[in-house]
Symmetry: C2
Subunit: 337 residues, 2 copies
DNA sequence: GGACTTGTATGAAACGTTTCAACCGTCTTG
DNA sequence: CAAGACGGTTGAAACGTTTCATACAAGTCC
């Protein structure tokens, strides 16, 4: 029942184990005749190389770990696709782990990855400060931070410029003639939310005049929160009500959209809307949603390339921080009234 | 730089390597005093167990592989969550692989998993007939088929009853008084599409009388296909036009919904709609969408449990095929006109 | 024909664990 | 007090590879 080992293959092909190993790793160094003999023996026995033994002896694996906050979130799955593409191109395999925003869970996965002796780790950490991750880096495993704005000395990072994203959205709404603009999102503690708001605020401030940005704080970035934000909006005096809302997230924007239309307000005529993330359903909404798109696959690809670079260069590697620019996609929800 | 080994820990704690190993694996078998001494040595040296060596010597890993068709698809990520929950509960780690519907890619991942000597594999195969997978089973790695209706002798499988799902949707529409019902979906070659249609057809046939099911064939299950199906529907003579449409998929239903409302038809008053999959956005649509929900997490959980069972029982294991029942979620889109 | 090279193949020593028979005190029991 | 049981520890042999120094044979060159 047990899978045949290199030894049995060697015996069947009447060569030494060293030769079998050579067929596996440096086929050009063995004569065509014996090579074929060995290959035949392998397929006859159904030989499958034992990666554990290989990793143990050679001291290196062909694996990198990717730890994301939520596999259910299209943002991360797209990032994962980019990572896989880059890893694939250099013969690496990606172990995808889902921390589910849970600290202990993240820790378990990190332990596992380190025990596996992965070549490197890509991670969007649950907490920015993570002593455990620090230890892993100290022990010599390269780590690249994904979508995390804290620029540390001892690791590379890639992220998208959320401040710029906020600015783009707000500038667009201002250009459409809106003066009373709202930013919806929360909680404030999420750095993405804070940054997007900050960018929007800066744009509004620069516009000068009577332009103003109000803040509709929400408890989360969910669809339901969007509906509540809609109710809140409807309660305000129509004369002072914002004519445009920039939402920290598409889900929020979709909830808001539904609440507004259900209550008889028209989008974009009464209220213009811009979301963030450009999820698939943004274009498919009742009123197609304008949104800020992040280069998700590209983000993953570059992160993986940075990691591969570090793995290659070892000690001599100089850490880098790459910041991507988001892009505004204009659709019906923010057309000029 | 290299991570400390058990040997160095043993030296620092002045015990034998055997004792260190015992601390790791059977802590109750070593006296509290030495145990503490070893533990201290470990943390002082930053010891991290080498999983390769462990796996090599002990002959077993603590890993199972999960190969899905598309990590971007919420169906599979929910299934993955269920798998992880079950694996977690018995101390297993899941390696998540994305075949992306690509045969060669799937094969690479399977090779990798087998080389890693995973304890078992959960897979939704790209092709039903897969000789490579067959070989893996023959060599002794347990495999459980996920969401795949072909019941083979040499492996367990779990799936959801699509015929029943189709029947539930159609029976609901018939109960609302509809007689001219349409099924939208395609291509026919997808077994899920064929099964759902079959179930709906059976229900309509049983209803008898003038009840009839027409077929709106679509080239794919996308949002855009839904819009085209809407156009098609609008072109038919209003007197003979179906008053209800059951879509093979929510995305399709959402496209259809948007096209119909854009052209002035009201849902559910003029046309009732039922989708399939109950994706997050179904409830969030302009008109909340009735849909057939599959027990996705449960599917993954049971699949993993079946696999764990087989790993446990070994030769004596009897393969089983579990079929789940889907559930209809009624919302506004199919309310009685 | 001796001294190199070149191309292949070999054998044994690692890699870091787990496992297990053996050992040594100390305690219990009849 | 002898015999056995028990709790704790040890040492060495595996596990299946890779790696490397070595060996051998066949050319090549002066």
């Amino acid at each position: 029942m047990a899978i045949a080992s290199i030894k049995e293959v060697a015996q069947l092909a009447s060569v030494s184990v060293g030769t079998v190993s050579n067929v596996l790793n440096r086929p050009e160094a063995v004569s065509p005749a014996t090579r074929e003999r060995v290959l035949n023996a392998m397929s006859e026995l159904g030989f499958v190389r034992n990666e554990s033994a290989r990793a143990l002896r050679s001291g290196r694996t062909r694996t990198m770990g990717l730890v994301v906050l939520d596999v259910t979130n299209p943002f991360f799955t797209d990032v994962a696709k980019g990572v896989e593409a880059a890893a694939d191109a250099s013969g690496m395999i990606v172990t995808l782990c889902n921390s589910d925003q849970d600290g202990p869970r993240e820790r378990r996965y990190l332990d596992h990855l380190e025990e596996q002796r992965v070549q490197g780790i890509l991670i969007t950490p649950v907490e920015a400060r993570n002593p455990h991750l620090e230890q892993i880096i100290d022990r010599g495993t390269p780590v690249v931070l994904l979508d995390c704005r804290t620029r540390k000395r001892n690791r590379c990072s890639v992220a998208v410029d959320d401040v710029l994203g906020g600015r783009l959205a707000a500038e667009h709404l201002l250009a459409q003639g809106h003066r009373r603009v709202a930013f919806a999102g929360g909680p404030r503690s999420i750095s993405q939310v804070a940054d997007r708001r900050r960018g929007a605020a800066a744009a509004v401030a620069e516009a000068g005049g009577e332009a103003a940005l109000t803040f509709l704080e929400t408890p989360s970035l969910s669809f339901t929160s969007g509906r509540h934000a809609g109710e809140q909006l409807l309660e305000t005096d129509p004369a002072r009500r914002p004519t445009a809302v920039f939402c920290a997230n598409d889900l929020l924007a979709l909830g808001l959209l539904q609440e507004l239309t259900a209550r008889g307000l028209r989008v974009p005529d009464d209220v213009a809307l811009v979301g963030y993330d450009d999820i698939d359903y943004a274009a498919a909404a009742a009123v197609p949603l304008s949104s800020v798109r992040q280069p998700r696959e590209e983000l993953g690809k570059v992160a993986a390339e940075l990691l591969l670079e570090e793995i290659d260069e070892g000690e001599s590697h100089r850490h880098r921080h790459v910041l991507f620019e988001p892009e505004l996609v204009v659709r019906a929800s923010s057309a000029r009234p």
